[in-house]
């Protein structure tokens, strides 16, 4: 089976403290991964490396079989394949539409196609008709869902989610869980962090467990 990501001897440290040390990890496309571990175990650091937002201190990261070169020109197409959703997402000043359409505009997607995809994404998160609402005036749960729609509108190959259900009400949480579980079936790989011990079982994904920056427990199948 093909591989999506391969991490080889990845190290990341802040000052003297090593926050991430992964010798070998392979992630397959079209899969749901749940990334667990205590606070400070390196979950967010791993996500930001997988999102190509911050380079590892050493080691090699492969994406789609090719090694990742950490320079701006090489990173742009990679970043356009992968989207990270922060646990308390930042919404831009302006309307819900302008937020969800932001990534589409960057990809020079035409107006009518833009509208169609924004509408579709908002529908998926249960916010149909929210286009003209001001993003900053939404409730926490609504904001989380708009951020999810903003990521989904791009149709990314990989969606990285940092504690997506941590700051939302139960209804939103249920809706998002259902949505997230359906994504691998549509070809989007999902890697989400969580510290809810029930999540891995309930969502049925493959488990990656980090302890103090290192992989622990059974590893997901490599092939």
């Amino acid at each position: 089976m093909e591989t999506l990501y391969r991490l080889s001897n990845i190290r990341k440290s802040y000052g003297q403290r090593t926050v991430l040390a992964i010798n070998e990890l392979v992630l397959r496309p079209g899969t749901l991964y749940t990334l667990t571990g205590a606070n400070g175990s390196g979950k967010s650091t791993l996500l930001s490396i997988l999102a190509f937002l911050s380079p590892p201190a050493s080691g090699e990261l492969f994406f789609g079989g090719a090694p990742v070169r950490w320079n701006n020109a090489a990173l742009l197409p990679l970043r356009r394949a992968v989207t990270l959703l922060h646990q308390s997402p930042y919404l831009f000043n302006g309307s819900v539409f302008s937020n969800v359409a932001y990534g589409l505009k960057l990809r020079a997607i035409r107006g009518d196609e833009q509208h169609r995809r924004v509408e579709e994404a908002l529908m998926m998160v249960g916010l149909a008709g929210f286009e003209h609402r001001r993003a900053r005036e939404l409730s926490g749960g609504e904001a989380q869902r708009v951020a999810m729609a903003r990521a989904l509108a791009l149709g990314p190959r990989v969606l990285l989610l940092d504690e997506p259900f941590a700051n939302v009400d139960r209804d939103t949480s249920a809706l998002l869980e259902e949505l997230v579980v359906s994504l691998p079936g549509r070809g989007t790989t999902v890697i989400m962090t969580t510290h809810d011990p029930e999540h891995p079982d309930r969502l049925g994904g493959e488990l990656i467990h980090l302890v103090a920056g290192e992989l622990a427990g059974p590893l997901p199948a490599a092939a």
């Binding site: 930001s48 937002l53 701006n72 970043r79 989207t83 930042y90 990534g103 960057l106």
Partner: protein, 228 residues
């Protein structure tokens, strides 16, 4: 008559009569200040942004230098530009000294560090999630900084307002580089300095009141822009 009431009445009289000297000084003040603000914004805001989002060795020195430039007295800036654009200076052939263009140059030099500094503080205080959010949604380095600037438009507009305030209120550069030529380079501030010199204190204060009114109107306008 009491000094302040006299000034107040003089101000009202000047406005009511649309005194040509006052009208001209107000026009020169506004036009020169707006040009300077525009040019200073074009240079200072990108400089502040560049300084704010990049990391390089000696950055702390650059910031310290910027802070020092902000403290430059207007007469020093005036003298510096004077030495460049005087007929004896390197740009003397352009015949800029004692023209409104000379004032625009001087005031631009004066306002650039202020705008760069205000922009820099706005960026320092910016939400750290803005750039990563833009990047992960597919922005390149330039597009992500552009988004940052748009998100910070309140702070950056504050930079513009501060720069405008500095140039419309200053007298050193305007006097030295403009030469206080009646109807040509005489601004509100140089007119006030001159009338004070002539002992016309009430008239000077009246002009001061008019200048404040003008500044208030321009600032209300800039504030309106900021709300957009």
């Amino acid at each position: 008559m009491d000094f302040f009431t006299e000034s107040f009445h003089t101000a009202l009289d000047l406005i009511a009569a649309r005194d040509p000297d006052v009208v001209s000084a107000v026009t020169v003040s506004i036009v020169v200040s707006l040009w300077s603000t525009l040019f200073a914004a074009l240079a200072g805001i990108p400089a502040g942004v560049a300084l704010g989002v990049s990391e390089f060795p000696g950055k702390r020195w650059a910031v310290t230098l910027l802070n020092t430039l902000m403290a430059l007295p207007t007469v020093v800036v005036g003298l510096f530009v004077y030495s460049i654009i005087s007929r004896q200076g390197p740009l003397g052939g352009m015949g800029l000294l004692f023209t409104p263009s000379a004032m625009v140059i001087g005031q631009t030099v004066l306002a650039v560090p202020i705008m760069a500094n205000f922009t820099l503080s706005a960026i320092k205080g910016a939400d750290p999630r803005i750039i990563p959010t833009a990047l992960t949604l597919g922005a390149g380095p330039f597009a992500s900084v552009r988004r940052l600037v748009i998100e910070l438009r309140f702070g950056i507009m504050a930079a513009v307002i501060a720069g405008f305030g500095r140039v419309i209120a200053e007298v050193g550069v305007a006097m030295m580089l403009g030469g206080n030529i009646r109807g040509y380079t005489r601004t509100m501030t140089t007119a006030i300095a001159m009338e004070t010199g002539k002992g016309e204190f009430a008239l000077g204060l009246a002009l001061g009141l008019i200048l404040m009114t003008v500044a208030l109107i321009v600032n209300l306008f800039l504030n309106f822009l900021q709300q957009r």
